[in-house]
Symmetry: C2
Subunit: 390 residues, 2 copies
């Protein structure tokens, strides 16, 4: 029984209504929204996916302990969550061997990227990133009127740290953004390369290292041996990937307490759900489950690589829960492959920019999900090939 509240009545009485005065930066922003969700694709095609392999979600799900903790927390949700996320930060501090003051909890990596842009980017301020890597920072930098400078991926499909550094010196960048392991390529740089980059940063430039996939990179050491209180580095982590809590919107920043306390000056202190805080705490405490996840992701990665090779595609090296597969042709061909997969109810994605747009990107999942993908792939490739040749 819903009451219809009458908001639509007589409207404006006067002749001319002046609209709100948006800031000049906002007026200059594009109105096209770059975030097209799987649900949106499902709505537009009027049909659900058979498998969801496009958003790099952990289809294996989070620790059962986390699900339990969240279900239990639902009854207490009439209370606001602790704006400091103190319990979670204390557990994270123990986990990382740092102080709670080195940690800020926020609304996923995306929320923390928005806050980082707020802290560091004013109109015209320079920021350097790789053309085609995770794009959400670019969106928030545009929202601040910042000046985005990009360099291409290296020929090895890795972010080109030397080029990033050279550009940072050239434009006096306030931020160099590195995604490690990278999305959408899946590639990574070992710790010593990141360390060397940090040592060569221009003065007053922060290395913003997006480590969203950190927990899944089992076979490399992504932990650059840099002191957590080093003012040149800011790391972002999330519970969305390895911990399987994408829908919770909870992540954290790791860095010097000086930078962390700056977040407290501008962030929405009541932005994170109380249930998400409980879920993250329980997920963190179940490292045994995370280890199992790593094993399963590793197996699925091998399986996806084998599927790719069996169809003459080249899997890029991956330290994440997805495999980016080089289709061997151009961006148009990859787009056609995706479209054909979608016809077969399979949701996958592809890198948005050249040269990586010759690839499709497929998330790790269960054996049954991958079997559906495996069966569909040759058909999608054949059809795409026929359309591409026209």
């Amino acid at each position: 029984m819903r009451s219809r509240v009458s908001l639509l009545t007589h409207g404006a009485r006067r002749g001319i209504i002046t609209g709100p005065r948006f800031t000049s930066i906002v007026q200059g922003l594009p109105s096209i929204v770059p975030f097209v969700a799987p649900e949106e694709i499902e709505r537009s095609r009027g049909r659900k996916f058979a498998v969801r392999l496009g958003a790099n979600e952990l289809t294996f799900g989070p620790s059962p302990r986390a699900i339990e903790a969240m279900a239990a927390a639902a009854a207490d949700v009439w209370m606001y969550g602790d704006p400091k996320s103190q319990q979670l930060r204390a557990a994270l501090a123990v986990h990382h061997g740092v102080a709670t003051s080195n940690i800020v909890v926020g609304e996923g990596v995306d929320g923390l990227l928005a806050y980082t842009a707020h802290l560091l980017v004013g109109p015209g301020d320079a920021l350097v990133t790789t053309h085609g890597t995770y794009p959400t920072l670019n969106y928030f930098v545009a929202g601040r009127g910042g000046s985005l400078h990009t360099v291409p991926y290296g020929s090895d499909d890795r972010q080109d740290l030397d080029a990033l550094l050279a550009k940072a010196w050239e434009v006096d960048a306030k931020v160099v953004y590195v995604v490690n392991p990278d999305n959408p390529s899946g590639t990574w740089h070992p710790a010593e390369r990141i360390e060397a980059m940090i040592e060569s940063l221009p003065p007053g430039c922060v290395a913003l290292i997006d480590e969203a996939y950190h927990e899944l990179g089992s076979d490399f050491d992504a932990n650059a041996r840099v002191a957590v209180d080093d003012l040149r580095v800011l790391r972002l982590r999330t519970f969305s990937k390895g911990y399987g809590l994408a829908g919770c919107r909870i992540g954290y920043a790791l860095g010097s307490s000086e930078i962390m306390s700056a977040f407290d000056k501008i962030r929405n202190h009541f932005g994170v759900s109380r249930i998400s805080q409980a879920g993250a705490l329980a997920a963190l405490s179940d490292q045994q489950y995370l280890q199992q996840v790593r094993t399963r992701v590793c197996e699925a990665r091998s399986e996806l690589e084998a599927i790719a090779r069996a169809h003459n595609m080249t899997p890029l090296p991956s330290a994440t829960n997805f495999v980016t597969m080089d289709c061997g042709r151009d961006g148009l061909f990859a787009r056609l492959v995706l479209a054909e997969l979608l016809e077969l109810d399979i949701f996958a994605r592809m890198p948005g920019a050249a040269p990586l747009d010759r690839c499709i990107r497929v998330s790790c999942s269960s054996a049954s999900d991958l079997a559906i993908f495996q069966q569909a792939l040759p058909r999608a490739l054949d059809k795409a090939q026929a359309r591409w040749e026209k």
Copy 2:
């Protein structure tokens, strides 16, 4: 079994490390955080509260349907939530008799206030509010370098709409902020006064109406009869108060599709938890429960008013789930009363600024919670009186 990840090792190798270059606005912000949560008070006193009557939470809890929906959604939380909150917005559109394009969902009223500040407030831009009303907008405006102008409450403890208007014309305000019903006073303006104010706004000024307590104002019509697509008005609603989902961090803006689409240019599209989306949808669908909540809140409000009067305090009129009680002396006395209540494990709060700081603010709750408050109050008043007279 937690692995200790070594982030703390050799630190910086070079001599001088230049810190991050925060924007000049951020550098000018105070480092004192204005958000002191109940948990923080509990931690600092080393003891839990007996009753939690300070945060205007709905201690009766949300609809059981909402709790069920959230517990069920926990298992699916490996998926990101829909960034458009399409299902919830469609249900809200039906509920309000508007289009989905008139609604944006965000991380509670606080999150939506932050986005509104982002859209409208640049350095030096003027905004008008009442000195001592809900302060979070001020925090976000400061974070943008905006220029905050305040007028005092009226002598009737209501926001002074004429004074707000006069100030808005004087300073060429981009935004006039009205909290209706108001926090921390509990008072409200009827629809026709709000309508009249909107008709008299200066050109290019938006009335930002924070209707967080709307669902609890059963005995007044807070719905100004203004078209939802009127470009002069932006309303904020939340699931935190009447719907009892404070910990979910989910609310919505109601307004013209032109303003709503501007939010899409700058908001964190993945800021709201999937579980919160499910909880809000279920809570909205249970209007019968909301009706019961209204009745219980109304009863508790009468009870709190009676308790206040029995101790020679004057309850301010309230259309919310709290009662603001005039202690009849000054701000120091009210602070002492709160401190003494805290000694008795009762968490309440008070308005932060004169003249309302002569009051304490007590949230509606169960009969047993209010009985504890009733028993403690005379003792707290006596002790406060003794200390105040010194």
